[in-house]
Symmetry: C2
């Protein structure tokens, strides 16, 4: 299950990358700087697009690192441009691609903790389903929503990507 759920997050990160490309095409057509999107947000006390992309990447990256125990690359959250956000997504995908089924092999028995949990732990299973995935989708859907709110032409197919349909 872990491999498949992280596989789905990889797919979703690649879709996010495609939304940023679509945003760049839109900006070109409308003759504005695509990096204007970096600071767009849906509410004054919500994170802007750049931070939403960073956190979506980290939800997948740190989730995988905490579950597998395989150290993740550090990212400084210093991206200033859409192009740099796309590099961040690519670096996250490279890390996730490097994980194997064996890395997830015995994680079902393990627990996960974070410093702000004051000594409490979660099972890896609960952590994945209750924290990593909802958080990942929260921030990736906000990226999509910020772009749509600002006129970028995205639809459900751009969100879901290609489905594994086959002949009956």
């Amino acid at each position: 299950m872990y491999t498949q759920i992280f596989g789905q997050m990889k797919k979703q990160l690649a879709q996010m990358d495609s939304w940023l490309m679509t945003a760049a095409t839109y900006a070109d057509a409308k003759k504005f700087d695509v990096d204007v999107f970096m600071t767009q947000r849906l509410a004054p006390d919500q994170f802007a697009l750049a931070r939403q992309v960073q956190i979506a990447c980290d939800a997948a990256k740190l989730g995988a690192a905490r579950i597998t125990g395989k150290e993740a690359p550090s990212h400084a959250d210093s991206e200033q441009t859409i192009a740099e956000l796309r590099e961040r997504i690519a670096a996250t995908l490279t890390y996730l691609e490097g994980l194997t089924a064996a890395d997830f092999g015995d994680v079902g028995e393990r627990t996960v903790t974070q410093s702000r949990w004051e000594g409490k732990v979660m099972s890896t299973h609960d952590y994945l389903l209750e924290h990593v995935m909802p958080n990942f989708y929260f921030h990736s859907v906000h990226v999509y929503a910020i772009l749509r709110h600002n006129g970028v032409g995205l639809g459900k197919r751009d969100y879901l990507g290609t489905l594994s349909k086959r002949d009956a």
Copy 2:
């Protein structure tokens, strides 16, 4: 896995219900009709809040029905008020509560199809991870985002709900 993933969707639907309650409290405090939220949206060509709630409910309900083969109750999408949307969420939860681990017992071998897939099928597994879950989160996060965009005071804890933390 199916039981746990649908368990997580039930939890998330209950959180969505709490957001609507918070929206009602906010509307009362600001002295406007909470049902104004029904038609709010983030882009003119995106669904408004009411439809986002309906589709989030249906993503869970129809996903479970297609995967288990257990018929789901029909809903007319005729909700006119926030109170009626809350009933819709409750009805969806009642249906999902009625499913047992046994209902999901042998689904791993089955396939799922929809009329618009032109005869193609997906494995239940792929369908759940690539379609049901991303779609469910897409619409539920849009509900949250529409409310936040319109001033309702929600935060990440309202989104995630209580985590299954325990002593180490």
